[in-house]
């Protein structure tokens, strides 16, 4: 009988690990993945070293096009690849300031859900600046018809990847 009870206890603890320790295990896993990414970055960096500075800036056009596609499709998962550890947001619903990677994901997700995009396009992309940026218009439907917001997105190279420095929707 008591053996049965102890078995129960052990089953419970296994269950607990599954429930509670998920966080720390999750972290371990992500650390491991980051390390793996780190080695990948190094190889990419070696290749990049041979490319001219201006060409590197131009590469950001591709990133802007990716970002454009992600916003136009309301695909936060795709967009979240570009989030920095702290990203600056300035939205029409009063959101403004620096948000963590985790937060930006849900803040934008909620925003895009409420302001369902009809069309989105970057009108101008500037890649020759220190921080490349793009300006576009974001159209969405409201109670009283279609509205348009002006969008400003700027990028910055962080750890050899283009990351979003700020997103402004006014």
């Amino acid at each position: 009988m008591k053996v049965m009870k102890l078995f129960n206890l052990i089953i419970l603890f296994l269950f607990l690990i599954f429930l509670g320790a998920g966080n720390s295990f999750g972290q371990l896993k992500s650390n491991y993945l980051n390390k793996e990414k780190g080695t990948r970055i190094t190889t990419r960096l070696n290749k990049l070293k041979q490319i001219q500075e201006i060409q590197r800036q131009k590469l950001s056009i591709i990133e802007f096009r990716n970002i454009e596609r992600a916003i136009a499709q309301g695909d936060i998962a795709q967009l979240s690849r570009y989030f920095n550890s702290r990203t600056y947001l300035n939205l029409t619903n009063g959101v403004s300031g620096y948000y963590s990677n985790n937060q930006v994901y849900y803040v934008l997700k909620k925003y895009f859900r409420k302001h369902k995009v009809k069309s989105f396009k970057f009108d101008k992309i500037y890649t020759d600046a220190n921080t490349p940026y793009a300006v576009g218009s974001y159209d969405f439907n409201t109670h009283d018809g279609r509205r348009s917001l002006r969008v400003y997105v700027s990028l910055k190279r962080v750890k050899n990847e283009w990351k979003i420095l700020q997103i402004t929707l006014n």
Binding site: R86, V107, N130
Partner: protein, 1285 residues
């Protein structure tokens, strides 16, 4: 019939029926919605016209309410004025006092004398006096008045008093025309009020001239006043079918989710009985977990429901994490998830605790599952360490993935999201700590000993092992989350609470309270620690922020401001209206733009069609930042943007731009905007607080005043923020820093002998190296008690609520014992002065801070007045405005000068020009200084939620009287110790003290009352006839004497009792012997006579000898029977002691006996399979027997006693089972023998008498089993056939 149905759906099943009902409703609403939608679509044309009329009527009703309130106030004022203005007691002073009554705060009131002069006004002036007269509307007619920044609903009326006509106007603010992004701004909009109430988009033109637009998509109607005059035009979008349908669909899905959630919730009560019947608790917990998990999933899928119920708390900006697939993506989601985890944690804690405590006296290792136990230990240790890490990671996420600045909340009790997050993190802490405690209990239960010292030594050893492993666990991690010291604190606290639960008071319900306190101390410490981490990271964010503010962004800001302004109808039409205040217009344009939102040094300038500047609003930009008119070109169709390079500050450029404003293809003017980035502005030092964006509040992880920032361009310092101007040597470490490949570096910088932690960021702009360094004093980034208390206060509120809940929950078991009284006395004595002291201290600090402000204002006014006077003395001809301007420039103090009640000069003229502030003097100050002849007066004023103090002082300049005013809206006065600082320290310290007092009071009152409680219990036992008792007290005070005396008394009573019984028995024997002798003599005499008669008859050989023999033999036999009877009675009488037989319920007697032991640590459970067990017996003896059994068990160190009673065909079976140390094998046979005892002071009568008593009931008593794990006695009492036929 009805009864049958009711009977059927009673019990758990009634919930099941309700579940079905809700599921049915779920499907039904799914079916019905499309039908409703179709129906609405078909009848849309008809219903839309009804809807439009409904909306129009609703708007009119809402407007009527405002109108009525304005009329009501107008009437009241009129009545008051009639009294005040009557010539007999007319004073303007009283007039000012009257209309500045707080009752009229919402309204703006002005009173004009018959000559049109303003004689009384209150704090806000809606209509300048010159605009009241001549009346634009007939007296008493309601209308809208458009002031520069606010639209008012206004009415002007006249009062005639003895042929004199006075005018008064009352105005109610209706709509603000500007929008600020500050923490103080209070929006006010009738349009928005209507839009949110009626769910269609409104536009209101507050003018009687507004004309209806010819647009089929909108509906317009005129708003009429009380005299049926048109005063405004209201238009709204005609409700669209599409919107209506989508609204209904979303409501329908809301209801569907609600039905499903209720149905799911009701599943629990429906299957409660089945759930209770499950024997294995672990299966129960697993089922509960699955139930809660599915419930969580269900709530998760009903996203809109929470958005609808608590829109603020679902906002991910407060907190959101991607962890657990979005189960914690907002404060409210976090709350639900953590609440469910907590329920499961509590269940696991209860289950494991009871399992471990039940077996704590037994030796599990001896029972064959030694192997399993040992296998689980390393696994549990790892779980323990990772759970602590999980707690750390979660708290870190709470700090990092949130914009809530828990330690910077301006109020003692924070706002709702912050409050909820505080609760969340506490609940999370409690749920993880419960499991951590369970693991420690596992470890503590390895070694079984009854010896206190041995147990403590073992715990100490375990504690040291855990600390060492905890230390290495942290050291070995590549990125440890916390420091070894924090780990030490956490493990120590966990050990303390675990030992309390395992050893000291395992059954106390207040353990939960101690767990919550432990959790709170741990999570608040962790939050404090991670906040420091965040502050360190904010150095990086600050550098990023400086980097972010570049020309591209500013160009974007200027561009959008110009586009928005040139498309705004209200802005365009302002160019056509006469007397427009273009300064106010510039402010309005600026206020809604990103320039305000980001609080940048910027300006907006308005030019007329001839390119002459006619209005501007400038915040921190020099006059040269304004675009020269030569650049303006009326042909431009889009904004033209320029860059002005300031040669004095090489890398600083000003971005400026303009756009022509066209009306019907004619250029009516130009709007220009400029912006500059300045490091100085980082802490918004140059922006008055009432205009400072709340962006600063959101981002200010660290107090910006603590930062020292330097920017370099090609190794030269270009900008500085902070009060240190470094030498070249001092900044060398920055320039020589080893930059990582990401162009950043963390270094230590020594400035003025102190060490600064510094983040350095390098970037290249136009081929030049730009470096930004952000430093903070290292000691400023250390753990502070202030921060700890700031959060501890909030959490202690939850803790106290929880304590009260526990107290109420436990109130049935709480009796007003000596201990409770002692505890209450302690608490009252200690908490009362603490609270009084806190309140008193707070009021002292409050007074001091007011005094500090007034002193600051006084000093500043003195400097200004002295400066002005010295100028007047030196330069007799110098004009006053020049003198005032000089004072402003040289002293840097902002002030205003009034002549009478009108402003003559202000150093911040533009804020008065834009109409943000009144140029009329504060009426209350005027009342005191002008009418009551005060020399100076300080008044508190507010602009929306921004509160500031102004000092007004009478001064004489060149023989004329003026009033100077200095306020802390423009002059920042820092108070060394604010009220909130005081609150945090006082209430933080005191709440901590109160919790300590509660803990110590409980311990002390327990200690003091412990011997009394023991004595009370012992006295009760003696009262019930159990004399076999002896108390043990360690104290050496009078208590020791009392207890010793009691023990001696108990022994004496017991001895006397036995002696008395002996004596009584002896006396009884003697008496009986006499009686017996007497009784025996009685039959002997007739017997003797009969034998004698028989002998005579035999000797006489009588004929009838036969009959005589027969007769006499009968007599003898009768007497022999009598003798027999006497012998039987004697025998019965000898059965001592005398019993009082009555009908008793055994279960009731067991319960009564157990109640005597409520205060003991041992838990007594009664398992009765039957409700009643009646016999005819002596209740006193039964109870005495039971008490004896329980006492023996307690003395054998049992923690749990189970008394079970069941009924068979023949008898009642009582099992008394304990987990004490058992009876040694050699003694087991002797336990029922008289005078057998193992106790030092025992008589050895207890079990002997029990056996005799049970045997007197013709029952049986036996020792069923006994081992080291406990002892079980079995008692059988035959059923009484008379009671149980």
């Amino acid at each position: 019939m009805n009864n049958k149905i009711i009977k059927k759906i009673q019990g758990g099943k009634k919930y099941l029926y309700t579940v079905f009902l809700f599921v049915l409703l779920f499907f039904l609403s799914g079916f019905i919605t499309p039908i409703i939608l179709k129906n609405i679509a078909n009848n849309w044309n008809k219903s839309v016209s009804i809807k439009i009329i409904e909306i129009e009527n609703s708007v009119k009703n809402i407007f009527r309410q405002k109108e009525q309130s304005l009329f009501y106030v107008g009437k009241q004022i009129k009545n008051d004025l009639v009294k005040t203005l009557s010539p007999r007691n007319r004073t303007y002073a009283r007039l000012i006092k009257l209309i500045n009554n707080t009752y009229y705060d919402k309204y703006s009131i002005e009173i004009l004398a018959p000559n049109g002069k303003l004689i009384a006004w209150n704090k806000t002036i809606a209509i300048p006096a010159q605009n009241i007269l001549p009346l634009s509307y007939p007296a008493g007619h309601l209308h809208f008045y458009d002031s520069d920044l606010i639209t008012y609903l206004s009415v002007t009326d006249t009062i005639i008093i003895e042929n004199e006509q006075f005018y008064f106007s009352v105005s109610l603010p209706i709509e603000k025309k500007y929008k600020l992004n500050t923490p103080y701004y209070k929006p006010l909009s009738f349009t928005k009020e209507l839009t949110s109430k009626l769910d269609v988009n409104f536009k209101i033109f507050y003018s009687s001239f507004a004309e209806k637009e010819n647009n089929k998509r909108i509906y317009s109607f005129e708003l009429l006043n009380n005299n049926d005059e048109k005063i405004a035009l209201v238009t709204f979008d005609i409700p669209l079918l599409e919107n209506q349908l989508s609204n209904i669909s979303s409501y329908s899905s809301l209801f569907q989710s609600l039905f499903l959630i209720i149905a799911y919730l009701l599943l629990f009560p429906s299957f409660r009985n089945e759930f209770k019947k499950i024997k294995h608790k672990s299966i129960k917990i697993a089922l509960l977990t699955i139930y809660l998990f599915l419930f969580r999933l269900l709530l998760f899928s009903a996203k809109d429901l929470f958005d609808f119920l608590t829109p603020t708390l679902t906002n991910p900006t407060y907190f959101s994490s991607k962890f657990a697939f979005g189960f914690v993506k907002s404060p409210v989601d976090f709350f639900i998830s953590v609440l469910f985890v907590l329920i499961i944690s509590i269940k696991i804690f209860q289950f494991c605790k009871s399992f471990l405590l039940q077996n704590n006296k037994s030796n599990p290792l001896a029972n064959g599952w030694k192997y399993l136990h040992f296998v689980s230990l390393p696994f549990l240790l790892i779980l323990f360490l990772y759970l602590i890490r999980a707690l750390n990671a979660s708290v870190k996420s709470v700090i990092f993935d949130s914009t809530l600045r828990y330690f910077k909340e301006p109020n003692l009790i924070p706002d709702l999201p912050s409050l909820l997050m505080n609760l969340n993190v506490l609940l999370l802490g409690v749920s993880i700590i419960l499991i951590l405690i369970v693991i420690l209990l596992f470890f503590l239960s390895i070694y079984n000993t009854l010896n206190n010292r041995k147990f403590l030594l073992f715990s100490l050893a375990l504690f040291i092992i855990f600390q060492i492993i905890g230390y290495y666990f942290i050291e070995l991690q590549p990125q440890p989350l916390i420091t070894p010291f924090l780990s030490f604190v956490i493990i120590t606290l966990l050990f303390l609470i675990s030992i309390r639960i395992y050893h000291t008071s395992p059954l106390s319900i207040y353990n939960y309270f101690y767990i919550v306190i432990t959790a709170s101390v741990i999570v608040v410490s962790l939050m404090n620690y991670f906040n420091l981490d965040l502050e360190k990271e904010s150095l990086k964010t600050t550098a990023l922020e400086i980097n972010r503010s570049n020309d591209n962004l500013f160009e974007f800001f200027v561009n959008e401001l110009l586009i928005d302004a040139s498309n705004d109808g209200a802005v365009k039409s302002s160019f056509l209206i006469q007397n427009t205040n273009y300064n106010a217009l510039a402010f309005k344009i600026w206020s809604g733009s990103s320039l305000q939102k980001e609080s940048l040094p910027s300006s907006v300038v308005i030019f007329d069609r001839n390119k002459i500047p006619i209005g501007n609003f400038n915040l921190g930009l020099g006059a040269d930042a304004v675009l020269d008119k030569s650049y303006l070109n009326a042909d431009a169709s889009t904004p033209e943007i320029f860059e002005i390079i300031d040669n004095n500050l090489p890398p600083t450029s000003i971005i400026t731009g303009y756009i022509p404003v066209n009306l019907n293809n004619v250029t009516v003017g130009f709007i220009s905007a400029s912006v500059k980035f300045s490091l100085e502005n980082l802490g918004l030092q140059t922006v008055p607080s009432f205009l400072a964006s709340n962006l600063n509040i959101v981002n200010s992880v660290i107090n910006l005043n603590l930062l020292k920032i330097f920017t370099f361009n090609n190794s030269k310092v270009t900008q500085i923020f902070g009060d240190i101007y470094p030498s070249l040597d001092q900044v060398k470490p920055i320039l020589n820093a080893k930059f990582s490949k990401y162009n950043e570096a963390w270094i230590y910088l020594t400035l003025n002998g102190e060490q600064y932690l510094t983040y350095v960021l390098k970037s290249q702009i136009n081929g030049e190296d730009n470096i930004i360094s952000v430093s903070v004093l290292e000691k400023d980034l250390s753990w502070s008690l202030y921060n700890f208390f700031k959060l501890f206060i909030v959490q202690s509120i939850f803790m106290l609520v929880f304590l009260i809940f526990l107290f109420i929950y436990n109130i049935k078991k709480t009796s007003f014992t000596f201990r409770t009284q002692l505890l209450i006395a302690f608490l009252i004595i200690s908490i009362l002065p603490v609270v009084l002291l806190a309140v008193y201290n707070r009021s002292v600090v409050e007074k001091k801070s007011v005094a500090a402000i007034s002193q600051g204002l006084n000093e500043r006014s003195k400097y200004v007045v002295d400066h002005i006077r010295s100028q007047i003395a030196k330069h007799e001809d110098r004009a006053l405005p020049i003198i005032f301007n000089n004072a402003v420039k040289e002293l840097g103090i902002s002030f205003s000068i009034y002549k009478g009640s009108n402003q003559l000069f202000s150093s911040k003229q533009q804020f008065y020009d834009t109409d943000i502030f009144n140029t009329k003097i504060d009426p209350i100050a005027y009342y005191y200084i002008n009418y009551l002849n005060y020399k100076k007066f300080i008044d508190e004023d507010h602009l929306d939620r921004f509160v500031y103090q102004t000092l007004y002082k009478k001064i004489i300049l060149r023989d004329k009287s003026y009033i100077i005013s200095v306020n802390n809206a423009f002059n920042k006065i820092t108070i060394p110790y604010t009220v909130i600082d005081a609150d945090v320290f006082l209430f933080g310290m005191y709440s901590f003290a109160v919790i300590l007092i509660i803990i110590f009071s409980t311990i002390i009152s327990n200690r003091i009352s412990s011997p009394i409680r023991k004595l009370t219990g012992a006295a009760k036992s003696i009262g019930h006839g159990d004399f076999d008792i002896s108390l043990d007290v360690k104290e050496r005070s009078e208590m020791k004497e009392l207890v010793d005396g009691f023990n001696a008394m108990a022994r004496e009573i017991q001895k006397n009792q036995i002696e008395m019984a002996e004596l009584e028995r002896e006396n009884a024997w003697k008496e009986m012997a006499k009686q017996v002798a007497h009784e025996i003599k009685n039959p002997l005499t007739p017997m003797k006579l009969a034998v004698q008669q028989l002998l005579i008859a035999y000797e006489d050989k009588k004929k009838n000898f036969g009959s005589i023999l027969k007769k006499l033999s009968e007599t003898i036999l009768n007497q022999i029977d009598n003798l027999n009877l006497i012998a039987t009675e004697f025998s019965n009488f000898a059965r001592m002691p005398l019993s009082k037989i009555e009908r008793i319920n055994i279960i009731e007697e067991i319960r009564k006996s157990c109640n005597l032991f409520l205060n003991e640590k041992t838990k007594i459970d009664i398992n009765a399979e039957i409700d009643r067990a009646e016999i005819d017996a002596d209740s006193n003896q039964l109870r005495r027997m039971l008490i004896n059994f329980i006492r023996n068990s307690i003395q054998a160190e049992s923690t749990k006693i189970i008394i079970s009673i069941s009924k068979s065909r023949q008898d009642y079976k009582i099992l008394i089972e304990d987990n004490g140390r058992g009876i040694p094998l050699k003694d087991r046979e002797k336990v029922f023998n008289s005078s057998f005892t193992t106790k030092e002071k025992g008589m050895g009568l207890g079990l002997y008498l029990a056996k005799r008593y049970i045997e007197s009931l013709e029952g049986n008593i036996s020792l069923l089993k006994s081992s080291k794990n406990g002892t079980t006695f079995k008692i059988l009492i035959p059923l009484d056939k008379r009671i149980n036929p």
